[in-house]
């Protein structure tokens, strides 16, 4: 997601909700469950975009 829309906030709170085993949801690929649920943040990166004239 792009941050310019939010004027590049310095602080943000990310909330990731658990997927519980057996929830009535179709996914293309099943998630790895731990103790009956999937809830993991594997990484967050920020990339700056620049306008470069050719």
């Amino acid at each position: 997601m792009g941050l310019k829309r939010f004027r590049f906030p310095k602080k943000m709170i990310l909330r990731v909700f658990a997927l519980e085993k057996g929830q009535p949801i179709f996914l293309d690929e099943p998630l790895e469950m731990e103790n009956g649920r999937a809830l993991r943040l594997k990484g967050v990166t920020a990339e700056e975009e620049f306008k470069v004239m050719l």
Binding site: M1, F8, K11, I13, E29, L31, E49, F50, K51, L54
Partner: protein
């Protein structure tokens, strides 16, 4: 003034066959301050016509208080389309769907004592009042007044998804539009699923999956990957009109897909590319993508504006994000599907007029069953002895058989032997006129004209066979073609770059997140490059980013979710900063300054989502 028309085969522009690419964006789902740059991206993707829904509830949430301000300023949006040289198909509803709350109907309308989507006088009076207000905003942009609006779609999926008034209701709405003053060369209605078209021109659709389906199991193989004559597609067995009377136009070819709460398919670039190619081979004479550009639902005064079961709608959709996995994503990111469509758009811009006149022929041995994994899917579009052989060996989420040592004969043309492997889809020319030269056949796909020559692409030996002299041809790999775009410096150039390249008023530029490695044809006069076969390679640096991100897990107080604090540090000197959040779970939300912000909601899927 450009003239527009149509006949049972195709659209016409200035009397010539016309096969345009149309892309949908919802202005009220995108910040107005970025409309100009997003329209420029759409144009760079080959879009000639911009389609827009006018969601009634985005404009008149409170009865009698209609807003045309900010992101609802359709007049400014249309002006920008006109300035960008883009035509417009207006979709004013009154019922739209578009995964909007009540399909775009304001809540107050549902509370009125009238029969919605019918000729009930009370309903029609409200429609008339809203459309009259809309007309005051858009009048100057109608084609008849010199503006870009060349098409108007009346209602949506009427008789297929709700609506019991039959053709008479479509006729009544059309009459009302005309009475107010709306008019356009193309007056259309959606035609799939036995929808009622009144006396209008039908437009069709097709999606690679069905997230609206109540099932939470794998669906049967999708039928949009087999060639089928004209409209006899997935929905076409139940069309409500004579297909011989109208051109085969697509207004809702899935540029991606929305996710619903219970069904969250991921759409690949190949899904979109193969489906588009199959529809072209099946005779489509307009490629209209829904949606081409993702967006974000506005938040209403009383509630969020997404389709939801709580208020009686069919599906549960994310409250804010309407990313749609579209060719241009929710925050203006260019997706890989953008490139797949651009390859076809480049071709259609230069050769679409000839293709539009070509009938589609499906060989009897080409399978109709999308579950057929063994037999190769083929179609031919031809006019006289000239045409294209379409081949598809791609079926979403299925492995198809490889085919070796194929010999195709089309009319008097024998193609050289080649293989077609699982996942491939392409088309090949025969008796193709290239200026004064004639290409008898090639194992290469035409991409575009460039100056006095032609650009083709293939990963095989192209084996061009000419009748007499050869034309000037540049041959690219498929990967190069996917990254190719035409730009203008003093003259026309082909630029090949895996990052987005756009045409600005001051010249072509790249929206770069890393070093810009690109190739051109011919060589640029103002930068020193190095020869790379027929191409010239260049490298341009990007400024060093000072932006860093720190991620700190917050104290876990809740079993249902985890929270993290994201700290963005350093001065931003670029055009944007993109977060890529790689997570596994049900869904995620991002809070900015305490506000709930649009967030990634391709939820619970493996892999990263930017």
């Amino acid at each position: 003034m450009t003239s527009f028309g149509w006949n049972p085969q195709c659209l016409t522009k200035d009397g010539k066959p016309w096969l345009p690419v149309m892309g949908e964006i919802h202005y009220s789902r995108y910040p107005h301050r970025y409309w100009r740059e997003e329209l420029a991206k759409m144009k760079a993707g080959g879009v000639e016509i911009v389609a827009i829904y006018v969601f009634w509830n985005h404009h008149e949430e409170t009865h009698g208080e209609i807003s045309w301000a900010g992101d609802r300023d359709i007049r400014s949006f249309l002006k920008l389309c006109q300035e960008a040289g883009l035509y417009v198909f207006l979709r004013p509803g009154p019922w739209c769907h578009g995964e909007a709350r009540h399909g775009g109907f304001p809540d107050w309308l549902l509370e009125m004592d009238c029969e919605l989507r019918s000729n009930d006088a009370r309903y029609m009076a409200e429609v008339s009042r809203f459309w009259t207000a809309l007309y005051q905003q858009i009048e100057e942009f109608l084609y008849k007044n010199g503006g870009p609006i060349i098409g108007i779609q009346v209602e949506n999926e009427y008789g297929h998804v709700g609506g019991g008034g039959g053709d008479e209701h479509i006729r009544a709405l059309t009459e009302l539009l005309h009475k107010i003053g709306f008019d356009a060369p193309y007056m259309t209605a959606t035609g799939w699923g036995k929808a009622c078209i009144g006396d209008l021109m039908p437009v069709m659709g097709g999606y690679v999956e069905a997230p609206w389906d109540a099932s939470i199991k794998e669906l049967p193989p999708n039928p949009n990957f087999v060639f089928a004559n004209k409209r006899r597609l997935a929905y076409s067995e139940s069309i409500n009109y004579d297909p011989e009377q109208f051109p085969f136009l697509l207004a809702e070819l899935g540029g991606g897909l929305q996710v619903t709460y219970n069904r969250r398919p991921r759409v690949s670039a190949e899904d979109t590319g193969a489906m588009s190619l199959v529809r072209l081979g099946s005779g489509a004479n307009m490629l209209g993508y829904y949606v081409y550009h993702g967006g974000t639902n506005p938040v209403g005064k009383e509630h969020t504006q997404q389709e939801c079961r709580e208020v009686g709608n069919y599906c549960d959709l994310p409250a804010l994000t309407y990313d749609f996995q579209a060719p241009i994503r929710e925050y203006g990111q260019i997706a890989e599907s953008f490139k797949e469509i651009r390859m076809l758009a480049l071709f259609l811009k230069d050769f679409g007029s000839e293709l539009a006149e070509m009938d589609s022929l499906i060989p009897s041995n080409s399978p109709r069953d999308p579950g057929d994994h063994l037999h190769l899917r083929t179609a031919i579009r031809a006019n006289g002895d000239a045409g294209y052989l379409f081949i598809n060996n791609y079926q979403r989420r299925h492995k198809l058989a490889d085919h070796h040592h194929l010999h195709f004969r089309v009319g008097d043309v024998n193609f050289p032997e080649f293989d077609v492997l699982d996942g491939e889809y392409f088309f090949l020319p025969f008796h193709m006129k290239l200026g004064k030269q004639e290409l008898i056949s090639a194992v290469a796909t035409p991409l575009c004209k460039l100056r006095d020559g032609y650009v083709f692409y293939t990963d095989r030996d192209p084996q061009y066979r000419w009748a007499g002299d050869s034309a000037k041809v540049l041959t690219l790999t498929r990967e190069e073609a996917k990254n190719a775009t035409k730009v203008r410096f003093m003259d026309e150039y082909l630029v090949i770059c895996d990052q987005p390249v756009l045409q600005g008023e001051e010249g072509p530029y790249c929206l770069a997140r890393r070093t810009v490695d690109f190739k051109t044809y011919p060589e640029l006069p103002h930068i020193l490059g190095s020869p790379d076969g027929d191409l010239t390679a260049y490298t341009l640096p990007v400024p060093a980013s000072k932006v860093t991100l720190q991620v700190k897990p917050l104290m876990q107080t809740n079993y249902l979710y985890r929270e993290y604090e994201l700290s963005l540090r350093g001065e931003v000197s670029g055009t944007d900063v993109f977060l890529t959040i790689d997570y596994e779970g049900n869904q995620a939300e991002l809070f900015v300054s305490g506000q709930r912000s649009p967030m990634i909601t391709i939820v619970g899927n493996r892999g990263s989502w930017a």
